[in-house]
Amino acid sequence: MKLINKITIWFIGIVFLITPVTMFISRNNIKKHLDEAEVTRMKEVNDRVAQQLKAGEKPDRYTHGRPIAISLLPGALPEQRVTVVKDNYVAEDLGRKECRITVDSYYEVGAQHYKISSYNYVIKSEEIFRGMLGTVVWKMLLMIVAVAVTARLLSGKIFSPLRRTMKAIHSFDLKQKNKIQLPQTSTTEFKELNVFLSKMTDKAMEDYAAVKEFSENASHELQTPLAVIRSKIELLSETNIDGVQAALIGDMQNAIEKLSHINRSLILLTKLENQEFKATESLKFCRVTKEVIATYEDWITMREIHLSTNLDKNIPLTIHPALAEMLISNLLSNAIRHNRDGGQINVLLTPREFCISNTGLPPQGPTCELFQRFKKSNQSNDSIGLGLAIVKQICEVNNYAIDYTYSDGWHRIHVYFYKNDQPVINSAEALSIAEVLSA
């Protein structure tokens, strides 16, 4: 759930909680003030009548039509000169609740004691409440709408630094040497977040550069000792040696071959990561494919593999020629190596994708893992397990999508030249959708 929605919901919840309480308080207040005003008025009325009495005027004229009763009080005046009585009762004739306030005032006029009492029906608290309810519904509605709308409008403004920060993190790539660009903000929390983020990414970039530099230097520094070992072994094989020694030297040569292959591959991967292969112009991918296939023809024939190709002509792609060659070469040599003798290889090239499929033993483990470095489908295999890692890296550098599947004894690797072309649904789903559509 979005932060702003959460805040809005909490806010509305609080409004819902607070409103009944405030309603209760304001109802009581209104009722109290209304009653007080009524009592004061009636007291004044009583006083007025008493004055008239004192002045000897007949109070009839004033009291006429008013709920005022004047009566003679036998005995002494009560201690309290004014008493207020509030009655809540059900009026039987109307069949509804009534609220009546009676104010009794006691006066001494001449030698006689009078009791003047006024009463009035006042508004009941339920009625106030009912009146308030209508307003409250409107008030709540307006508040919710206002909160929701202003939250949306404000969040766009308040959270925009956060959003921009998140975008910056999203597009941040450790492999590229650009520092992270975080937006300026006046919000303290976001400022802290940005400071923390830039510190973290700077550190990560430093560490990454250090590790990369190390592996780069290590690989380059290894080349010379390797050259020394190789040349010395070659010189050694020229000397007078017997069969046992020759076999030992042969093994050493194999190991050095492998070592130099690993080293070369690692250097290549580092260079790919460093974006050292910038494509400047487009090349004909079909021609490269044909050339690579021609190079491997010997091997294919030797293993009695049946190769069928379906290559579209004139496919220009902007890719470094060395990378294009390496991409196809690695995929094709894999397809040959992991094939069975007398197996099959299909190569398909369209303007959108390059697809190579070959027969072979099922992979041990998930196919996507085979793109990892030194990951082999068969650990005892002769290969060093960097071929597909290089392929993957080449695809990443050129923004191609790659996917590897295995089904019905066929290994299929698709390289999509445009990332959007990668099918979102697999073929089985597509088939069932097609069936539904045709039905």
């Binding site: 390797l226 020394v228 020229e238 030797m302």
Partner: protein, 227 residues
């Protein structure tokens, strides 16, 4: 042939010179940029083996010096970096060819010979050994004046053998020579066996002497003492 080896690693330099001495070449060693420049100013060489990374300078700078001084030697660059930039810069700077470490000595030699043929023998494109004549221009091989029906790879293989005669050539080195960068992707070196077998068959078919022999556990050898 007189060769100057400019390489800061002494073991590697001595390895190269040992191999080339076996070919009766005269080799001189220079471990630093300064020594190399001094030697170049005093003597003339047919070929120069040049390492790009030197402790006191860049091999490409030396290349510039060689061009300035109009020194007409064949130049083969050796580099630990197989960066394309280095390759291009080297070749544009006047170098004739380029090998990357770790290289095979027979490969280095074959390239040196090719440079020598182009540069010093004024494009003499015939490589002759007894009855075998190889024309590097037309890619034609003859044995006793009979044209040998060989593929491009078989021709390269025979040339490699003739240039490195009486040397043990490992399967790896032959593969690297014939397939270049693709060697890494080859699972094994059975192809080498296949190509050598075919070549021997073709030479025997025209009644040429089968100089090529198998060296058990190591590879092959073009044995000139065979008759």
């Amino acid at each position: 042939m007189k060769v100057l080896i400019v390489e800061d690693n002494k073991e590697l330099a001595s390895g190269i010179s040992d191999y080339l001495n076996g070919e009766k070449y005269i080799c001189e060693l220079a471990y630093t940029f300064e020594v190399a420049r001094e030697k170049l100013s005093l003597f003339t060489y047919d070929c120069i083996l040049l390492d790009i990374m030197l402790p006191d300078g860049n091999g490409l700078e030396l290349l510039k010096y060689i061009r300035q001084e109009n020194i007409n030697s064949g130049i083969l660059i050796i580099s630990a970096k197989d960066a394309l930039d280095d390759k291009v810069n080297g070749l544009e700077g006047g170098a004739d060819d380029y090998v990357t470490k770790p290289f095979h000595l027979p490969e280095l030699h074959a390239r040196l010979r090719a440079i020598y043929r182009r540069k010093k023998l004024e494009g003499n494109n015939l490589v002759i050994f007894n009855e075998i004549v190889l024309n590097t221009d037309t890619v034609e091989a003859t044995v006793n004046n009979t044209l040998l029906e060989v593929t491009r790879k078989e021709f390269d293989l025979l040339l490699y053998f003739v240039v490195n005669k009486n040397r043990v050539l490992s399967r790896q080195s032959i593969a690297a020579h014939l397939w270049g960068d693709y060697t890494d992707n080859l699972a094994n070196f059975d192809f080498v066996y296949q190509h050598v077998k075919n070549l021997r068959k073709k030479i025997s078919a025209v009644e040429g002497i089968d100089y090529i022999e198998t060296v058990y556990g190591l590879g092959y050898k073009f044995n000139t003492s065979k008759t």
